[in-house]
């Protein structure tokens, strides 16, 4: 039995996306949330590469998309980390639920980011 097939690779990539999205919504530290987004992006990249390898191997077009997305992920991480640094300067904390000053007027503090 060959485990190296399109369904298995897609299952792996979707698992990564799901693990990442769990992290995005459940982790408390903002750095862990950024890491979860990276995990999701890598899952997506894996799906692109596996589509290319198993189905449309003659064209390289998806590889461009995949390389571009790695670059974009790096940019996103850079912006995110710099924002975390600024947040830490102002709040001295990067836990999600403690950063909650935006809410309707008069209502108690929001649920955080």
């Amino acid at each position: 039995m060959n485990l190296f097939s399109l369904p298995n690779c897609l299952a792996l990539s979707l698992t990564l996306v799901l693990i990442g999205s769990y992290g995005v919504f459940r982790r408390r530290s903002l750095i862990m949330v950024l890491l979860s987004i990276e995990v999701m992006l890598n899952g997506v990249n894996l799906s692109m590469v596996s589509f290319n390898f198993f189905r449309w191997g003659t064209i390289e077009s998806s590889h461009y998309l995949y390389m571009l997305s790695i670059g974009v992920a790096a940019v996103e991480a850079a912006v995110g980390l710099s924002m975390i640094i600024v947040l830490f300067k102002n709040y001295t904390d990067i836990t999600r639920e403690r950063i909650s000053r935006l809410n309707e007027t008069g209502a108690p503090a929001g649920d955080g980011i």
Partner: protein, 478 residues
């Protein structure tokens, strides 16, 4: 030389020049950078004007220029230039270095132009991110203000999450068709629909659903709109003039062109989804909007309501109506932010509804301009807001179109929603004109330091455009 490259050169050169200005004159108070960036945006528009008039492809289809995309790109450039014009004094007031802000906005501008012209998946993705990532920065730009930090971080996390879903959707579409060019994707999907290739269709539909979800998230269509009011509340007004006006135009335009172009064979899937989005936006936006007393949050919910109408226009498959709606919405929201910037005191912005009490007594012209913009948002006849909404409804009811079931009910819901939204727009009008400053026990009406020429200019432009579009322009079918 390639006309596309020439048209993008001013934006890149402008960015480089701003970088030089930033390193040699890194002061807050300088207006050279404003001049450079407005000239760059204008030069790009002029270069695009000289493109060949018919549909053209550049770089083997990576850039696909259509008349619709060009018009949307002009609208985006004009609104961005308006936001640049507004920012001058305001950026000093909130202690933001103007050069840095303008560099980021130029990057957004380039992303928006390319989003309207994208012809294949990599270009589309890069342009989408070039719009998104600087928008996160803009939301968090006043870095000394903790609320702005929170808004930026919230926008970044949710935006990045939605970008990943968008990319996953693009990957599935690629997996189903094996093409990255949008025209080729259209042909492959049409072939798959006619031959009934089930596996490919399922993949493509999952991909389309992911793309729709991601874009709904990005533009704040209910039920994915919960982050929108928080981000609006935390961001500064100058950044909002960019992320709430031209960026919306570009992303909605991209959604429309993507659905009418590449995904046209899958209309059976996306039409009901858009209809659902429109219905939920009309209900949620209005019901949550009437409770708000913060102006920025109120405008955010009004954006949700308007997003619902734009979705109806996209569903009706009518480019004219969508362009008209987007142009009118863009200029209305730019005018709103201009008015809010003009109202602020030297220390703070206006935000609460009670801050506006008695504005009509002290500053008639400002209150009048704001009233006209609000009437247009509410959709009173003779304004562009009415013409746009009416056009959307007419197009959605066009008899020759196979609309999904329950279209009429959703249209009725939107109209009722529009009537409810009268309440929250007229609340502002009432505060400005009718209520006396003492009656709410609040301080006197907000001090307007002086109406600077750039606020007056943008406000006057938006009022003129709103009235002239509403009175003189006849939509096809109207």
């Amino acid at each position: 030389m390639n006309p596309y490259v020439i048209s993008q050169a001013p934006l890149v050169l402008g960015f480089a020049l701003l970088l030089i200005v930033a390193s040699f004159r890194p002061h807050q108070k300088e207006s050279l950078s404003g001049l450079i960036s407005i000239v760059a945006l204008g030069a790009t528009a002029v270069c695009m004007w000289f493109w060949p008039p018919d549909v053209t492809d550049y770089f083997g289809g990576a850039i696909h220029v259509t008349p619709v995309g060009r018009v949307l790109a002009y609208i985006c450039l004009a609104l961005t230039a308006g936001a640049m014009l507004l920012s001058d004094e305001y950026l000093n007031k909130i202690h933001v270095t103007a050069v840095d802000w303008r560099m980021v906005v130029l990057a957004v501008g380039m992303g928006m132009v390319n989003l309207c012209l994208a012809g294949d998946l990599p270009t589309l993705f890069i342009a989408y991110e070039l719009v998104s990532i600087p928008s996160y920065l803009l939301a968090g730009f006043s870095h000394r203000d903790p609320r702005s930090n929170e808004a930026g971080m919230k926008y970044l996390l949710l935006g990045a999450f939605s970008s990943v879903l968008f990319l996953l959707g693009l990957s599935f579409v690629y997996g189903a068709t094996g093409e990255t060019n949008l025209l080729a994707i259209h042909d492959k999907l049409a072939a798959a629909v006619s031959t009934g290739a089930a596996a490919d269709l399922v993949l493509a539909k999952v991909g389309l659903a992911l793309i729709l979800g991601a874009v709904f998230f990005k533009v704040g269509v209910a039920p994915f709109h919960t982050w929108l009011p928080d981000v609006y509340q935390g961001s500064n007004l100058a950044s909002l003039a960019v992320i709430a006006s031209p960026v919306k135009v570009a992303v909605f335009g991209m959604l429309g062109m993507l659905l009418w172009g590449a995904f046209e064979p899958l209309a059976d899937l996306w039409k009901p989804v858009l209809l659902c989005g429109a219905a939920i936006s009309a209900v949620m936006g209005n019901l949550q909007g009437i409770r708000q007393t913060s102006m920025k949050r109120l405008v955010a919910f009004s954006a949700v309501v308007n997003a619902g109408f734009i979705l109806l226009g996209i569903m009706a498959h009518s480019a004219t109506v969508v362009i008209f709606y987007l142009g009118s919405y863009g200029i209305m929201s730019l005018g709103t932010w201009a008015a809010f910037m003009a109202m602020g005191t030297p220390k703070a912005d206006v935000d609460e509804l009670s801050d506006l009490t008695g504005l009509g007594r002290n500053h008639k012209w400002l209150a009048l301009a704001m009233t006209i913009i609000l009437l247009s948002f509410a959709g009173i006849p003779l304004t562009s807001g009415f013409a746009a909404k009416f056009g959307v409804l007419l197009e959605a009811l066009r008899p020759d179109m196979d609309t999904p079931r329950h279209t009429v009910q959703v249209l009725l819901l939107s109209v009722v929603g529009g009537l409810i939204s009268f309440y929250f727009y007229f609340q502002i009008v009432r505060a400005m004109w009718i209520e006396k400053p003492e009656s709410r026990g609040s301080k006197a009406s907000p001090l307007v330091p002086e109406l600077r020429w750039n606020y007056v200019f943008v406000l006057a432009m938006s009022v003129v455009v709103i009235i002239s579009l509403g009175m003189f322009l006849r939509l096809p079918g109207l």
